[in-house]
């Protein structure tokens, strides 16, 4: 266990715990956008920053990636911290003016749009948190989508914006996206995502469409479980 001070409060946490968990565990709230339990940490959004003091040195670090240490003094609401969080929200509001999630979050943080930042209209609701890319790489394991170009031209998607041969239509990316940017439509026995149409499998028991055939084939191949045992939806199991 390590002992540290957060906003004047003494807390302890198991060694190796990230500050984010340690601080939230103590009942103090920290905003996040790019952290998701299903994937590894990236430190991309910078909302979870805190100010830490170690000896004489003060630093701003992202609590999602900084491990708790003995004797650390943490301030989650210093001027520098609030400044960073406010700028991040202002920038994201300008980037994705249509996102209700961001608007709600900004309101909770008492941040308003900065009129000097001209709102974008070509970024949709994507804040480049990269949770979708990470889940496709780390959990699903096909990397159908990736991060391309750099700087403000950076985008997520399939190579050449073309249909991906390796996408299994599972929708994990849609599930982890914090703003609902990724489009997935279902009509009848078809699901459309990333420009590709997938045929949906019906459940043997209840007859509902529950997963793309390609996804089940993928799981079958990966696990060795025969297809016939996979064609039952989770509710009916």
């Amino acid at each position: 266990m390590v002992n540290l001070t957060v906003d004047g409060k003494n807390i302890s946490a198991p060694k190796g715990t990230m500050l984010l968990e340690a601080i939230r565990g103590a009942g103090i709230s920290i905003p996040t956008l790019c952290a998701h339990e299903a994937v590894s940490r990236s430190g991309a959004c910078r909302l979870c920053v805190v100010e830490i003091k170690k000896g004489n040195r003060t630093r701003i670090v992202t609590s999602c990636l900084y491990a708790a240490e003995d004797g650390l003094i943490v301030n989650t609401k210093s001027d520098r911290v609030l400044n960073v969080r406010r700028l991040v929200m202002e920038l994201l509001l300008a980037r994705c003016p249509e996102s209700e999630v961001l608007q709600k979050m900004a309101k909770e943080m008492s941040v308003e749009a900065q009129p000097r930042f001209v709102a974008d209209s070509d970024k949709g609701k994507c804040i480049l948190c990269r949770s979708c890319v990470r889940v496709c790489e780390e959990v699903v394991g096909v990397s159908a989508i990736g991060l391309f170009s750099r700087g403000s031209d950076k985008t997520i998607g399939t190579p050449y914006n073309e249909k991906s041969d390796v996408c299994i239509g599972c929708g994990a990316c849609v599930y982890v996206c914090p703003t609902g940017h990724i489009e997935m439509t279902s009509t009848g026995d078809k699901r459309k995502i990333w420009g590709r149409t997938f045929k949906m499998q019906t459940c043997d028991k209840c007859g509902k469409f529950f997963a793309p055939v390609d996804q089940l084939k993928f799981i079958s191949k990966k696990t060795g479980v025969p297809m016939s045992e996979l064609t039952v939806c989770t509710e009916c199991r």
């Binding site: 991309a44 910078r46 520098r80 400044n83 960073v84 900065q114 480049l128 700087g151 403000s152």
Partner: protein, 614 residues
């Protein structure tokens, strides 16, 4: 070259000494990228042909960069060391028959002091070179970088021989610590502390890497070292590998430096053949080898974790550095990453000792630093000075001051991560800590001099446009913040700035500096903050008065023709892309302000300086 693993460098050198005595006659010609662009290779061919024609058995050596880039192609005739500048192919026959054959000096090819008009024979007489201390860079002029023999003759690999036969790894680290070597790439971190960290770290294999990604625009010291003396870097890395327990090294070279890559590859192959790289170096049980990785056009790959990602085959995105590279670097293994110039200092420290090394420089910054002095300066080139030399000495004594009779305005140090230093602070000694104190930094060594025709708001705009393109795009403050700051600066330069913009830039700067994931975003505000600090009135003129005092920002200036100076020659009419200029032959011309785009073509073509900018 014998491939005998028991052959020590001293032995190798002694074998060759017979051919390279101190009074040996040879002609050295600079063949760095800069001088090649001036046509130095053609001059070399002409020299070889002429010497053959006149039946003289004198070697012509294409050396690495000599530093005085303004005056290329440069030819130095040894052993007298007569230094000829701006040499043309047509000068060659005279050079051979007079200077090489008879030791006679050709006045017109010598450097002539612009004020006293005195000619100077040798490097050590010239103001550009006089105050320099070229302990690292000076070797360039003595060797053909593609020949390992040349390097051995100037005591190359002696330091490695000493290290492997007389010193322990800890001993090497202590020597570097005593010398006080600090990183020359910009961070200024104590090299020995880094090496110690890797030595003690857990994890195998360990790596040493030379950062040759020199991305700061205007800085080309590392290029000239990699091209001109590649063995000095290789020797430094082998010694470093021995000290920290690494058997593998990488040199990461910018894609834009093809000659450096070629010379490094030649040097590595030659070192392997000589038993100085590979298994059981010099008969010991220490093995070490080096790979070269090329960059592909990403400034951010000069950042350590982005560099590792690039070597690993990924996009060059940095990662949060809460676990340092010395513990988890390349492939999550303990890694030493040092700049090319830092590595080149290592053999010097071992050969001449830490006491000698630490006697040079200031209390906090030991040794010398190579700078590239460029921009609005008389003597453009690379200089090497002891730490503690003042900016004034560099710009005026060595640089020769500002050309065209113009006035000094500022010097930018530290590249896009650095700041502008105004005239009032030119007495600052060049020193890691002193430069930080004034809001700039040493950086990798680029020094860009600006005069009164440079607009400081445009300079800030330029750097932010650069950083916007080079941002990797991972974190919000850098990707979105720099873009928004860049937009505001573009507005200001276009006359669309608003009251409150300066304050907004300052507020954003603090958040971007604090919130960014890596140093690219972290130091991006520096050019903006330092120009606001020292040249606030220029910003205000742009915003409040819609005026660009330096006459640079196109939207805020007008061109007009002075009827007293104009001779009606019609040149400006020829070159104007929008037909904005008009007039009759031999009568004063005029410019239609509505059509004029301020492209500058007329100013460039006018021989009478008749066009005014307001």
């Amino acid at each position: 070259m014998k491939n005998n693993s028991d052959t020590q460098p001293q032995q190798l050198k002694d074998d060759l000494k017979l051919n390279y005595g101190p009074n040996k006659k040879f002609v050295a010609i600079c063949a760095g990228t800069g001088c090649r662009a001036y046509g130095s290779l053609k001059v070399k061919e002409a020299l070889e042909a002429e010497l053959k024609k006149q039946n003289m058995n004198v070697d012509v050596i294409a050396t690495g960069c000599l530093g005085f880039c303004e005056k290329g192609p440069m030819v130095v005739i040894h052993p007298d060391k007569y230094f000829y500048q701006s040499v043309k192919v047509t000068d060659v026959p005279e050079i051979v028959s007079k200077t090489v054959a008879k030791g006679e000096v050709i006045s017109r090819l010598l450097y002539r002091h612009p004020d006293t008009k005195k000619t100077m024979f040798r490097e050590e007489d010239m103001p550009f070179y006089k105050k320099q201390l070229r302990v690292v860079f000076g070797s360039n002029g003595m060797i053909d970088p593609t020949k390992i023999d040349d390097y051995l003759v100037i005591n190359g690999y002696q330091a490695l021989g000493k290290v492997l036969s007389e010193m322990t790894p800890e001993g090497v680290i202590n020597e570097v610590k005593k010398a006080g070597l600090r990183g020359r790439g910009g961070g200024g971190f104590h090299t020995a502390v880094k090496w110690e960290g890797v030595r003690k770290a857990h994890g195998e294999p360990k790596y040493v890497i030379a950062n040759g990604d020199e991305g700061d625009p205007g800085a080309y010291m590392d290029r000239s070292l990699m091209e001109g003396n590649p063995h000095s870097i290789i020797e430094g890395m082998i010694i470093g590998g021995y000290a920290v327990g690494a058997n593998e090294g990488y040199i990461y070279v910018r894609n834009e430096y093809p000659l450096a890559v070629t010379h490094l590859n030649i040097a590595i192959a030659a070192a392997r053949e000589a038993g100085l790289l590979g298994k059981n170096i010099l008969g010991t049980d220490f093995s070490f080898d080096i790979h070269i990785n090329k960059g592909a056009g990403a400034f951010v790959c000069g950042e350590s974790s982005a560099l590792f990602a690039s070597i690993e085959g990924r996009a060059g995105e940095p990662r949060a550095k809460y676990v340092h590279a010395v513990e988890k670097g390349l492939w999550d293994k303990p890694t030493v990453l040092n700049n090319v110039e830092t590595w080149a200092n290592v053999p010097l420290i071992i050969n001449k000792g830490a006491d000698w090394y630490s006697s040079i420089g200031t209390e906090g910054s030991k040794g010398t630093k190579i700078f590239s002095l460029v921009g609005k300066i008389m003597n453009t080139g690379l200089i090497e000075v002891p730490m503690g030399t003042t900016l004034y000495e560099i710009i005026y004594d060595m640089g020769g001051g500002i050309p065209g009779g113009r006035k000094f305005k500022a010097v930018q140090t530290g590249g896009p991560s650095g700041g502008c230093i105004p005239e009032s602070l030119l007495d600052i000694p060049v020193d890691f800590d002193k430069l930080y104190e004034v809001g700039s930094m040493m950086g990798s060594g680029g020094m860009i001099v600006m005069d009164d025709t440079s607009c400081m708001v445009d300079v800030a705009r330029y750097f932010l446009a650069f950083l916007k393109e080079e941002s990797c795009g991972k974190c919000v403050p850098c990707r979105e913040g720099i873009r928004r700051m860049s937009d505001i600066l573009e507005d200001i330069c276009a006359g669309k700035g608003t009251e409150g913009d300066i304050n907004l830039l300052e507020t954003m700067s603090q958040a971007i500096a604090d919130g960014s994931l890596c140093a690219l975003g972290g130091s991006a505000p520096n050019p903006v903050l330092s120009t606001i600090k020292y040249f606030r009135e220029e910003y205000e003129a742009h915003i409040k008065d819609h005026r660009c005092p330096a006459g640079v920002c196109k939207a805020l200036i007008t061109y007009s023709i002075d009827p007293e100076k104009c001779t009606g020659c019609g040149l400006c009419i020829k070159v104007c892309p929008t037909q904005a200029t008009s007039g009759e032959k031999k009568k004063a011309h005029t410019i239609d302000k509505d059509k004029c785009t301020r492209c500058g073509a007329c100013i460039e073509s006018c021989k009478f300086e008749a066009i005014n900018v307001k």
